[in-house]
């Protein structure tokens, strides 16, 4: 019997892109395979173990029948890690939370809509306690490896608390605001090396908001650059609809132009 920590991967509503990024991380850091014993990774393995210490969950909870298996994972695992934006924030799947779900089902499945069970998509932490999250859509492979290493050392992983703009400036990118494009960088958690602005596109917030995001300040900056506040805030509903709706329910934050 091996004494290596056993880890398992599970997926709920997701595109499996984060698990693929895990495969890519293993190709960059093969030593990781030596340090752990992967007992379940359905996408890549037929062998299946049911005994593990760390569970990585990819995907959001988006239907009633997802809840029991998510809770069962919590019962078994000493540590549960949300893998990627879908699990961490609800992510892309939450776009539909702003639509009437009955209508969404009818739109895709017509008069067969009632065959398909669904409800608003939620992050895993809305269902069970989650010990750590690896943000991003997809996750950053280096951050994944760092997190696993820290967990193996028995330390809690740390996420950067500063906004993306800090990293973006270090990359010496020309700010998209100066090119007349909106960007969520000022309120989004750094850690991806500002990869989107570096490749010429604005940040869409897949890593989630910094603690206490200064949305008022963001609005001022936008107005200063003559950019649309509405359009920028609407961008938040791409990955952060769940958080936006929570803010609205709590009575602060900004009501979104309904999509």
């Amino acid at each position: 019997m091996s004494a290596k920590p056993k880890i398992a991967f599970y997926e709920f509503t997701s595109c499996e892109g984060c698990q693929l990024t895990v495969v890519d991380s293993l190709q960059l850091y093969p030593e990781l395979l030596e340090a752990v014993d992967i007992v379940r990774f359905r996408e890549a393995m037929s062998e299946m173990g049911d005994d593990y210490a760390i569970a990585f969950i990819e995907g959001s909870c988006s239907r009633p029948s997802d809840e029991a298996p998510i809770k069962a994972i919590r019962e078994k695992a000493a540590l549960v890690v949300a893998l990627g934006a879908c699990a961490h924030l609800g992510g892309i799947n939450t776009i539909r939370n702003r639509h009437d779900l009955g209508e969404v089902r009818r739109f895709v499945y017509g008069d067969k809509a009632e065959w398909y069970d669904t409800y608003p998509a939620r992050p895993i932490s809305a269902v069970i306690k989650v010990d750590a999250a690896i943000p991003g859509c997809p996750i950053d492979r280096h951050e994944f490896v760092r997190t696993v290493k820290r967990l193996l050392q028995g330390r809690a992983p740390e996420l950067p608390d500063h906004p993306l703009c800090v990293e973006c400036k270090l990359k010496e990118n020309v700010c998209l605001y100066l090119r007349g494009t909106t960007c969520l960088g000022p309120i989004v958690r750094a850690g991806c090396d500002a990869i989107c602005p570096t490749y010429g596109d604005s940040c869409e917030g897949c890593r989630g908001l910094v603690p206490n995001p200064n949305i008022e300040h963001l609005k001022e900056v936008l107005t200063e650059h003559g950019l649309s506040v509405d359009q920028t805030l609407a961008k938040m509903t791409q990955f952060l609809t769940y958080q936006v709706m929570e803010m609205e329910a709590a009575g602060h934050g900004d009501p979104q132009p309904a999509h």
């Binding site: 499996e16 992967i38 596109d201």
Partner: protein, 430 residues
Amino acid sequence: MATPNLRIDVHHVTRVEGHGNIVVDVQNGQLKQCDLEIVETPRFFEAMLRGRPYGESSHITSRICGICAVGHATASLRATENALGVVPSEQTVLLRKLNFHGEMLDSHILHAYMLVAPDLLGVGSVIPLAKSAPEVVLRALRMKKLAGDLCAALCGRHTHPIAMTVGGFTHFPSREQLGELRERLIAMRPDVEATVELFTQLKLPAFERDTEYVALRAKGEYCYIDGEIASSDGGALPLTDYRKVTNEHLVRHSSAKRTHHMRESYMVGALARFNINFDELHPKAKSAAAAIGLKPKVTNPYLNTAAQVVEIVHCSEDAIRLCDVLIKRGLTWEEPVKPARLSGEGVGACDVPRGTLFHNYVIADGLVTGANCIIPTGQNLSNIEGDMRALVPTMLDRKPPEITLALEMLVRAYDPCISCSTHMLNVRFE
């Protein structure tokens, strides 16, 4: 000994993308049920696009699938561009083709080496394979890394592409990067040859069932982007007529929609492309096909993986050619082409690793008001079931585990992407 009663129930087939079950029920030697159930969560992407600015569509729909992210993004951009009267530049077309080869290589290498080879070598996954045949696994990882690096140089990352946008790109590789990729692709040739060699040795199961094959086709190239919809039963249709081919319908045991065209079912993917576009393959890919023993028309679905290996040869050689062309003409930092209008309807189509993919959008005043995405695995589901129904009766004298493995391997041969179709496989023998 014949099995008069047999129930197979494979819950969540492994080594495929997404969740699906295989259910087989034989009573008194009669096949009562033989289904591929899709149990993936419905994703509702088409509904989620409604009301979003057109520029977000490719970013949202790439999240349908982490493996075919570039394919979804490309089909999405083509649909939007056709809707809004955008004609991308020649450089954009070349870069998109090169990027596409990166994804095709990444996906085919993953499938052939990590998902299929373990069955052929009698192990449960690539992990024991790393112990028993490390050079095979290292080769796969080397090739896969280059494919990923190719996409990363062009669009930031393979899952999910960043720099691809309506009308062009927001970032460009440098000449040096292209030169380096070219060198690495050339250096990869021995690995590609070894891959072909491996698949000449591995025995894929024998099973024949002729069906209709559907793929995109265009003059003068082995088509992956745009073109027309061609059928092995004859004829071709323009992309805008895609609904005449796909005839989507729902079946109760699946959250993925099904399709049929001339016959009860049709097949899309590497084997279909091979059958339809064989003449356009790179000469080296044709030799690889000859070495593996593939000659169109191939009617054994298990050979889809072999056709993927032929495409690995084609894509790596064509990627070298595209690098040469791009280096020779020089890269310019082009601004994306602006839309001619903000309302319209358009269809975009690509032949992604698993087959033909269609995106169809209606846009009004810059916002998406209607969307339809038809995914390769969805088109293959009825055909997989057709194969299962033909295969099971020929195997009733075998032991259930053998039948189960044959069915799982069949399903895996199609390289189903269930998270796409809405995700896939578990075999349940009932």
